[in-house]
Symmetry: C2
Subunit: 217 residues, 2 copies
């Protein structure tokens, strides 16, 4: 697949590198290509020559699947810059969490309970096929789940489009996920996003980010 990964942070890099390793054609989208190339991204990029770098709009325009790996607070601006027309009809895998660090740690959620970031994105880009997933674990586990308990833990998908969820599930499975739980329509992303406050407290107690929840049943 041609995959655009919007966001140059740890999540974007992890997803881009893993997808490229699996044979996908990957372009990372960034707000300012020159500034990104001039920054510490350059060192990482040198190790991943197969991964392209383009503007948000260029990356999205050329992709079949778009990954939102931006910060929650920057997601709507970044997707707006990517362009509604460039997202139309495409699977939009949303990994972002609406964390608000305005009052320090622990962060609160900027959208919660009766709405979710995923639903906001879907309302803003009604022609995209938004699927929420992977936001409930640290970046390295998203793409290499087998490194923890040989993958015996769970990942959730939420979305209104069954085919889009099937495509995302296929990608997750190729990453190594063995327990992909389809929670239902996109409003179920509220539950997945609301796991973050617990995740952050567990992170504080466990002294590692390499943990995940398994739904035992």
């Amino acid at each position: 697949m041609r995959i655009a990964v919007l966001g140059t942070g740890s999540v974007g890099r992890a997803v881009a590198a893993r997808a490229a390793e699996l044979g996908h054609q990957v372009t990372i989208g960034t707000r300012d290509v020159g500034a990104t190339r001039a920054g510490e991204y350059a060192g990482w990029a040198a190790q991943h020559p197969e991964i392209g770098l383009a503007t948000l709009a260029e990356a999205a325009a050329d992709a079949e699947l778009v990954v939102n790996a931006t910060n929650g607070s920057g997601s709507l601006p970044a997707l707006t810059a990517a362009g509604a027309a460039n997202l139309a009809g495409k699977v939009l895998l949303d990994i972002a969490n609406p964390l608000d660090f305005g009052a320090g740690f622990p962060p609160t959620l900027s959208v919660v309970d009766t709405d979710s970031l995923a639903e906001r994105i879907q309302r803003e880009f009604p022609q995209a096929k938004v699927v929420k997933s992977l936001n409930t674990m640290t970046a390295e586990l998203m793409v290499r789940p087998r490194q923890l308990a040989d993958g015996a833990h769970s990942v959730f998908v939420s979305g209104d489009d069954a085919e889009a969820k099937r495509i995302v599930t296929g990608l997750l499975t190729s990453f190594g996920h063995t327990d992909v739980i389809d929670l239902g329509d996109l409003s179920t992303a509220r539950g997945a996003e609301m796991l973050l406050p617990l995740w952050l407290r567990l992170y504080g107690r466990l002294d590692t980010a390499v943990f995940n929840v398994k739904v035992v049943r």
Copy 2:
């Protein structure tokens, strides 16, 4: 221990029966003893003659540990009826979830993100030692965790008083819990309460309430 269980519903009955089975002296507290005795509670009570029934205030007055097993919306009124003086200095194990079914299913949370029901209770009854726990699973798993995966799943405790958490952890362990995770102070109960929206969606997908999360690390 002398344990008061406030609430006559499925959670209250499960905790009361299990604690009595383990040798504790258990009294269930209810708003109206006569009405409870006249209702369907009578059939359950006949099978548990060792468990007392009293008013909320009587039950709390006589107890060393008080369990809040009322509905989230009824918790503050029930605890007020139990009486601040009767809760003072005691461990108050809060199992309630602030679910608001006002807009139908799925419920929203009546307190969320920047506050929690547990913290509200603590503020209202500053002399009680509030510990949040067990609210993240179905009643029968709370008290018999070994019935699922031989207990290989997690339960959380949150609270400001270390000794109170130690006492609750002991009770949980006696129930059969093997992975009791101390999240930290009582504000961490926000995370535990915010797990409910995900729990409810999983309940809808898994066709059983007998599931739980395990924190794999």
